[in-house]
Symmetry: D2
Subunit: 352 residues, 4 copies
Amino acid sequence: MINVKVVGASGYGGIGIIELLLKHPEAKISSLVAMESVGMPISQIWPHLTGFCDMEVTAPDDPRAQEPADVVFMATPDRVGMNNAAAELAKGAKIIDYSGDFRFNTAEEYAEYATRIGKDPVHAAPDLLPLSVYGAPELHRADINIDRKIVGNPGCFAISCILGLAPAANAKLFTPNSVICDCKSGISGAGKKLAATFHYPNRYDMMNAYKLAGHQHVCEVERELSKLAGEKIMLTFTSQVVPLCRGIMSCLYADLREDMTEEQVIEIYKEFYKDSPFVRVLPSTAAVGSMHVRGTNFTNLVISVDRRVRRLRVVSYIDNLVKGQAGSALQNMNLIFGLPETTGLDHPSFFP
Amino acid sequence: MINVKVVGASGYGGIGIIELLLKHPEAKISSLVAMESVGMPISQIWPHLTGFCDMEVTAPDDPRAQEPADVVFMATPDRVGMNNAAAELAKGAKIIDYSGDFRFNTAEEYAEYATRIGKDPVHAAPDLLPLSVYGAPELHRADINIDRKIVGNPGCFAISCILGLAPAANAKLFTPNSVICDCKSGISGAGKKLAATFHYPNRYDMMNAYKLAGHQHVCEVERELSKLAGEKIMLTFTSQVVPLCRGIMSCLYADLREDMTEEQVIEIYKEFYKDSPFVRVLPSTAAVGSMHVRGTNFTNLVISVDRRVRRLRVVSYIDNLVKGQAGSALQNMNLIFGLPETTGLDHPSFFP
Amino acid sequence: MINVKVVGASGYGGIGIIELLLKHPEAKISSLVAMESVGMPISQIWPHLTGFCDMEVTAPDDPRAQEPADVVFMATPDRVGMNNAAAELAKGAKIIDYSGDFRFNTAEEYAEYATRIGKDPVHAAPDLLPLSVYGAPELHRADINIDRKIVGNPGCFAISCILGLAPAANAKLFTPNSVICDCKSGISGAGKKLAATFHYPNRYDMMNAYKLAGHQHVCEVERELSKLAGEKIMLTFTSQVVPLCRGIMSCLYADLREDMTEEQVIEIYKEFYKDSPFVRVLPSTAAVGSMHVRGTNFTNLVISVDRRVRRLRVVSYIDNLVKGQAGSALQNMNLIFGLPETTGLDHPSFFP
Amino acid sequence: MINVKVVGASGYGGIGIIELLLKHPEAKISSLVAMESVGMPISQIWPHLTGFCDMEVTAPDDPRAQEPADVVFMATPDRVGMNNAAAELAKGAKIIDYSGDFRFNTAEEYAEYATRIGKDPVHAAPDLLPLSVYGAPELHRADINIDRKIVGNPGCFAISCILGLAPAANAKLFTPNSVICDCKSGISGAGKKLAATFHYPNRYDMMNAYKLAGHQHVCEVERELSKLAGEKIMLTFTSQVVPLCRGIMSCLYADLREDMTEEQVIEIYKEFYKDSPFVRVLPSTAAVGSMHVRGTNFTNLVISVDRRVRRLRVVSYIDNLVKGQAGSALQNMNLIFGLPETTGLDHPSFFP
């Protein structure tokens, strides 16, 4: 059994990985760490876990929180992972970090990212950056292997955009600066932190775009697509929030270099994802939506081509808390422990 | 493996049992029968099942629909079960019926029920009624056994009320005609049939009481409580619909014969349910709600006593589609096949 | 024109009265006072008012906040009104207070109420209590007159219960301790204060009962009904929250002294409310719900009798922010300034 | 007083104009016509109108339905308006039609539009087409005048896109085929017709894109923008539905011909709309959303420029049932009767 420590256990990112781990046949939770609700059983914070996981939440400085584990999920805000990774690595753990801390491999890249979104550009553990890999198995499966020490888990919007455009970028189908990512998220994407904008009466009949000046997930999308395309890609990104709980729907647009049919694009996508069990490539007529991936690790990609203006459009659906967070994290854990990547993740959605 | 036929596969009751069966270690679906969507893979009706269950839906008169099975779930409206049970029994199947068809054991009782709700009082298979049991394991576990041929699965509102008041009725704590059941259901309780009242814009900011003249679940609640109390109990029942998807919250009131404390009542409830793994008895201060049983077979009972007026109040929470329907059905299947009643049902809710 | 000061302008109670005042032909807002958002135009806090009300919000100690007005709406928490009423009265204003501060006429009554809900029992301005009237025009119209200085505006749950049972209490139809108020509110009832329980992801598919030990609105319901009935009435009250924005649905139960028909009860109710333009009395077959009073000052009462057990049931629907708060407040303002009580309130709901 | 006939009174488009007309000082409803609910008072179909509008709904062939009126709102599906306009014109009425029937001025243009969306290309009243004007006052105010006989009211998505890009098209800021309209609508946009996709349980936690092959509103957007730009504009359009009731949020993208600042674009927009009381031009930092125009005739335009890739982005918010339908219709009525365009429409939104 893989012993798992979850840091940031009391947030949505924490509860997400706990729920998945409870169903995982090869892993077991060895400790739950958080800054809030310390000393309480996790089932007091999340009563739906009563009888399934009643483990006490410990503070980071509690000896129980410092016991070694095989893997540590850092379901924590920026800079927590980078400040704690070395100690965990020293105890023999592997790290899977949810934040932006380990999504870049050099201090320069990190600094550029941090500067762009107005954060401290100095990484606290620059020497660890080369040990990390960007946790998108569909692109970097070979590098997410048993020798890997650190995984920088992707951002939720980011992975929906990257998976939606990767095959097209890889095949150099579109012109570099024509990419637009119009992304809508359910409200759980903002986590459990209270904010007026997510207070029920302010939100139930409300949708809006936000952070028009630049969202923190743009850099990783541009980096991944640029690598695949072999040229610098810059994109326009619009983050939006709509009144539902779980789900991301990203409409992705790019100008095709040449006239192509939907079928030709679909073929390229299917080939690209032929070994990726969690990606479904669908035609423009597919009657699917965010509900069909809810609670799962799947990405549904609906492909269409607007041939009048030679434009590719991909509608990418994920569950922001699963493929967009805890599910990807577990998929990455499976890979760095040599397990099939679907272990513990191979279940359908529920309805209604 | 138990071979399972699901009749009424394309409704919410059908999808509910299909989802549960896909996770059940001892059962497998052998055929899916419905009047609608015949010839389509079930995953075309419910795209979230793609890759998990792609079995074709067959019409009732299709030879494949008539193959024998070990158990048949009749997830069908009134009178379908009573008209088809004999044929299935003859082929060696057991029957678990979701409707009111097998909730009563005599033609007279059935006639009284049917008359009260304005339906044809003549049961189509009166000779089968003595073979059936009312599928509330918490009350009739001993009778839901491997010799049992037919289970009349409880109504969703009914089971929430019965479990909420059974220990008090059994201990004769309250006066017979003082019972009030004030019941609120999420919208999935009405099934997938379209109706103006469940059209999103008509419902998103709307709640209402309905069927004030009498709901079809009242009879079975009165019957079960009367049996336990050893005297005739008549109750006032108010069915209400509120704008959420899954969940029933029933507020149950009854006048206590004697002054009692909350703690005394809780003790009686805990004793009554000590062998019932799906019932949780909680004090009045418990911070729980419908979300904490969502997707599960649990019943959460919050007990309080209004001592000023000597009144018992129980707030009973279930998921109307699980404990209120498919979950109870599977729990009953487990019992009539000699399996632990928690098999395939022993999972927590999800959040958020 | 009536000059109006709104204290607590930045909350839901404040915005509610501002919206109504903007449509009122005889009143105009002269100042907006709040503790938060001081110095901002109200349309920056509530952007939907842009161009309609851009008045600056002033702090309580700002000289502009202390200018005299003809009427002051205290849309404020407990104890703010009682601490500020004397000063406003001295400047010639009348007071309409939203809190519990002026709902009782003696220090003893207030102390009993405050004690029961765990608050400081000592009223800060006991000498003002005899000047106030409980602001239920349907019961106290004659006392809400141009000589009145202070109105204690009713609680939202309270007014729904009182209007639902007043005619029956007045006609002594029911036994005193048989009353049960099973009350559900939309989330706006909790105001704009952030709380985990009203964070969208925690609430969208969630309903629950709360404050089972006793809600702050019980005292005023018992007081009003007892007065009408001429005997002490004690009731069981269950406050619940369901996931919609606006609306209260209170199911009210009481044991009839004698067998009666629905029609007889309706006649009594219609007679009682014959001069009350905002109350509609409806039969048990009426297809109405919370949406049909949304945004209005109406109360819809659906009457039914469960003759098997001789029990009256009234389902009372209001908009918690209008009849339950700002609408009642404006209705009271109209009366204490000698205007028709419907002035500025005589508009239908909107749909969908 | 302007006598108004509403055809299609029982749908959302009908109720929308009825609600507005009840507040209009210069108009009164003279008849309500519909195919459904004939013979019922409109307040039985829409109980929230009780006491405000209890007029009977008449069938189209009822003599009362054929009485002359000053203006007829055709809140009807395609081809109803074109088949009935001549008769109404002959009786002296003006026509305001909600469908695509009168949005084009020549049979050829209509045929192209109808063909593109798979409908009968032959217009039933081609001779009337030159009498009509496209009902976007912000663009065609001078032509929506007292001599005008027919107004083709804009599509809801269409008007959100046209108003969002008109100033930029007019100033020739962008390249012709770079336009993308990514449009999300609340569910009321689909009207009151029942559909599985709008059944509450299928929609409450669901969003999806639809009609990827082409939406019926694209033609009018391309036509209007092309006219303004003086060159043929072809755009990619994505219609999406999200789980709220009222609101459209359209994210509009276009490649700027030259580098420009947000301020420069805002200045151009403000100048363009300086005489348009219902359009607000806002900077990228404005904290607004669909709720801030809910229930109103306003369009909120949030302007931003992605200078890295020289791309204009406008987020356009309207209420799909007001500015997107009945509100525009009333604004057009005001203009063709020589009234100020804000008459009866000059009210703020409500909150929450």
